[in-house]
Homo-oligomer: 406 residues x 2
């Protein structure tokens, strides 16, 4: 039975097909489309090496916001480090999608209104014959019943499908925000990338949508670190159809905050699902840093703990080894005073006033064995807070990434 | 048969004994001593959380240089996060060592002339009864025949002994520099730390020795990253007996450069041995970054590649997956221009002008299977260079760090 998510907000259609790009025969081409050009925001990777699709998105939407009709995505090949040919291929994906959407009826679609994302192996050219056939076929299937096929078409090493739908009210109008995401390693076995598509029926200006997306990603996707590696293709797109009605929200509208909260909730759910599905992960780790000197310090400290392979292996082994947590805080660029620091594993206080406390080891081990492990670090220095999301480091991570061959 | 290293330079004695601090009955207390107070330099960890022994070293040698008589080291317990009791214990180790050395004869020794280092589990108090007995016993064995026992006494999860001896000439005088080191994870299974002791018979001022040690460590120990985790106890000490004769070298002496080169060579050998013996390592990885915009950029870029778990697992799996190398360069804060970048695995060119090159895969796999794997990244932007040292990431790393319980 199909679950619905990305087309729940009115004004969107989606579909996914298997075009033979992935070797395993799974879906690998998807289109997410609005019925007309709608308010859109896009965020792309901070890696300095970026794929051709990222360059295309930046070319057609230089400020990261504007109006777009659709997004076309393929998995199985990331079109990264593929030279001029890669740029031509990304542009052709946009042109083909625009042409087929125009032929489908409705207002004519310009290629510049089509965003493109690709995920998969780095350094190989796209098999364009298959991509072309895939795009033609997927446009024919666009509708509100193929959410799942569209979601599967953006997945690579993911073991679980990740979607979220949140409903809220903006003024008196019910508004829906829905999202899907893929990503299991910041970069997976020679595959790349996180991709997320968010749809909403809210009426919202491109600038307000961009701001809400940026703010939401800071506390969600940008808080996830599976392996400290940043992919060359990360792309997040939010499209707002306006079907919920009303005047488009700006950043100053009274309803903006409610809308931004719903968007942040969708991003938060997707980010947690992504961390929990990290390569080789057996559980989610939440590193909550509180009372850091500054917000930036909180993020630095939380990510230092979340990226520490020694912390991640200790969680995997259910070892309440607080020395590694304290080490990871201390090595970070954030200000730390061991005498003011308090560390909890779950709700077990393990460290305060510069040294370890006697604690109930069985209880700490149980907290480390939970599906969601919480490590709380109260720095006692100020008001900065940040929660980083990661997963444990298991044998399976090494198997996935070492035993796999390109 | 014992090998000699740390006491090869004239003017030093050493010994190591098993005092019962380590559970496995191996040597765990060592003393390295000069026959009088000699020119000494000490570098300690940059982690903000530091052990009591590090605080003691900083207290007695605030500028990191001066004159010292000896260094006392224990393994099996790092005396980190142990509160006031830890500080008292570190000081007592210095006092006891000073007293026993004084009783042994020769000029009286002040406790402030004794440096202290401890390595092992974080957060447990030192078993001082055993430490006291160990110090008494080890002073009785000091001589030039117990180098190996002294070296074993500083080891934790190391699988190999790491020592180096280099001979050079300063002016017309033959000079010897010798060193030993331990360290397998930047922090090992709830154990800590890198420790290195360097001796030389050169006559050199504390300031010149400090400068030479700092410069040597920048390109050697500070270039090593096993797991990006920085321990709370890292300590390097260099002592110069002056027995080779001559006026003490300053940074401006004509012989300084030759001496500094010999010291750098010793540190370089020890650092390579440390990287090759990284937890779970099956081979050494040298990441050579050339022609970076600046020297700082070169270090940032080299360490980003050396710390990338995806690069380390790819090397482990002998997978010539250059996409991960390019990704790791791109995510770093160093300036990268993919169009100017050239990447080699061994001597196989795999990437240039923004894309992968056709290459001999068998040859690249062979280069990745060598004991010493070289990844060369020519950024084509300037004159900065840096070589980072690391090891592959194997199942054994996860076993050592997850399956081990404190």
């Amino acid at each position: 039975m199909a679950t619905h998510h990305i087309t729940v907000p009115a004004g969107f259609v989606a579909a996914g097909v298997a075009a033979g790009i992935k070797a395993n025969g799974a879906e690998d081409v998807a289109i997410f489309a609005a019925e007309r050009d709608v308010s859109t925001a896009v965020l792309t990777t901070r890696n300095q090496v970026v794929g051709a699709p990222v360059l295309w998105c930046r070319q057609v939407m230089p400020a990261g916001r504007g109006r777009a009709r659709a997004m076309v995505v393929n998995s199985g090949c990331s079109n990264v480090c593929t030279g001029r040919r890669g740029l031509r291929d990304a542009e052709e994906m946009a042109r083909l999608t625009a042409r087929h959407l125009t032929e489908r009826g409705g207002p004519a679609v310009a290629p510049e209104k089509i965003l493109v994302a690709s995920t998969g192996v780095i350094g190989r050219p796209l098999p364009m014959d298959r991509v072309r056939a895939g795009i033609a076929s997927v446009v024919g299937r666009l509708g509100r019943r193929h959410d799942d096929a569209a979601l599967r078409a953006i997945m690579t090493t993911d073991t679980r499908e990740k979607s979220a739908v949140v409903q809220t009210r903006v003024g008196r109008k019910p508004v829906t925000v829905a999202g899907i995401a893929k990503g299991a390693g910041m970069i997976a076995p020679s595959l790349a990338t996180m991709i997320s598509v968010i749809t909403t029926d809210a009426a919202v200006t491109p600038a307000a949508l961009h701001r809400a997306l940026r703010d939401a990603s800071a506390g969600s996707f940008n808080a996830v670190t599976i392996d400290s590696d940043t992919s060359t293709s990360d792309t997040m797109v939010a499209m707002a159809s306006g079907e919920a009605g009303g005047k488009p929200l700006t950043g100053r509208s009274p309803g903006y905050r409610k809308f931004a909260e719903a968007l942040a909730e969708v991003c938060g759910e997707l980010a947690r699902a992504m961390a929990a599905d990290g390569e080789g992960a057996t559980r989610l780790i939440e590193v909550r840093v509180r009372r850091a000197r500054t917000a930036a310090d909180a993020e630095t400290a939380a990510k230092s703990v979340a990226n520490s392979p020694l912390v991640k292996t200790a969680v995997h082994g259910r070892d309440p080894n607080w020395g590694r947590i304290v080490m990871a805080l201390g090595k970070s660029a954030a200000t730390i005073d061991p005498d003011k620091l308090r560390v909890r594993i779950g709700d077990v206080l393990v460290f305060s006033r510069g040294k370890g406390r006697p604690f109930d080891e069985a209880k700490a081990r149980a907290a480390l064995g939970a599906d969601e492990v919480v490590i709380e670090c109260d720095l006692g220095l100020g008001r900065g807070g940040f929660t980083a999301l990661t997963c444990d480091l298991s044998h399976e991570y090494v198997t996935i990434n070492a035993d796999y061959h390109t």
